[in-house]
Symmetry: C2
Subunit: 159 residues, 2 copies
């Protein structure tokens, strides 16, 4: 009960602190904040996946890795699994959470929808960090089709 609250509360404090400590005057600042939050999430994702996969056998392909994130990583963070996973089988994955915990506290009026990106950056970084630690480099973005659902798009970078 209080377990999903812990991450939620800690996350909220991080977002508030980053925005308060760094100024928030223009678009450039906005970009900086998002970047800071993504980086913090990235490192947490790396650390978390390392411990989560410590006793797991290795994954046979990218789809299996993404499924692990949808199930195990998501449950650790949000006490639920991703509701829907889609892929084009060419390295693009869309993970949909129909009730994304970090958006449930925000009012769903249109005015607040503009605020959504700052509540998604950390988690985008987290997904990216987790994948990175499993040897997969990626671009991760998020959109909010309708509050409080959220779609994370993962595009694997081929090098």
């Amino acid at each position: 009960m209080a377990d999903e609250t812990l991450f939620e509360l800690l996350h909220m404090e991080i977002v508030l602190h980053v925005y308060k400590s760094m100024g928030q005057d223009d678009d450039e600042d906005q970009g900086k904040h998002i970047h800071v939050l993504e980086n913090m999430g990235f490192r947490v994702g790396q650390g978390l996946i390392e411990r989560l996969t410590k006793d797991s056998p290795s994954f046979k392909d990218e789809l299996e890795v993404v499924k692990f994130l949808c199930k195990d990583l998501w449950t650790t963070l949000f006490k639920k699994q991703i509701d829907n996973l889609r892929t084009n089988h060419q390295g693009t994955f869309v993970l949909q959470d129909n009730r994304f915990l970090l958006l449930t506290q925000i009012s769903n009026s249109k005015q607040y929808l503009e605020e959504a990106p700052k509540f998604l950056a950390y988690t985008c970084g987290l997904i990216k960090g987790a994948l990175s630690n499993l040897g997969i480099s990626s671009l991760v973005s998020a959109e909010v089709p309708i509050m409080p659902s959220c779609k994370f798009q993962v595009v694997i970078s081929r090098s």
Copy 2:
């Protein structure tokens, strides 16, 4: 397994970020950092205890409140209980954790012992915030008798 890791990793990122974003030149800065971390912890403590006690009957005295923190709050945060609780029955409580999660990553050489306060401030704030939300105002400090054990001293303020 990975659950206690989540708080640990998030906490580490918060400490790093606060120290990086605010400069760390002199003792005054050090005081500011500690203050920021305590405040962040305070609000998380308030929010967390509110949900944890939602369905609890009210507490009959301060000792019962402190016992709840030692057991339920500590388990939510650190997946273990406080190992030892002592009180002088006059409003002072000492909570000892023999293996405090947020110190287990730090080397226990003397050099690093000086670094310990920055890893304790958040949790001091958390305890203070939790008590505050239950109508008890307090002063909370921490000391590290020997790594990685930690003693939190709670002094209830009578008004």
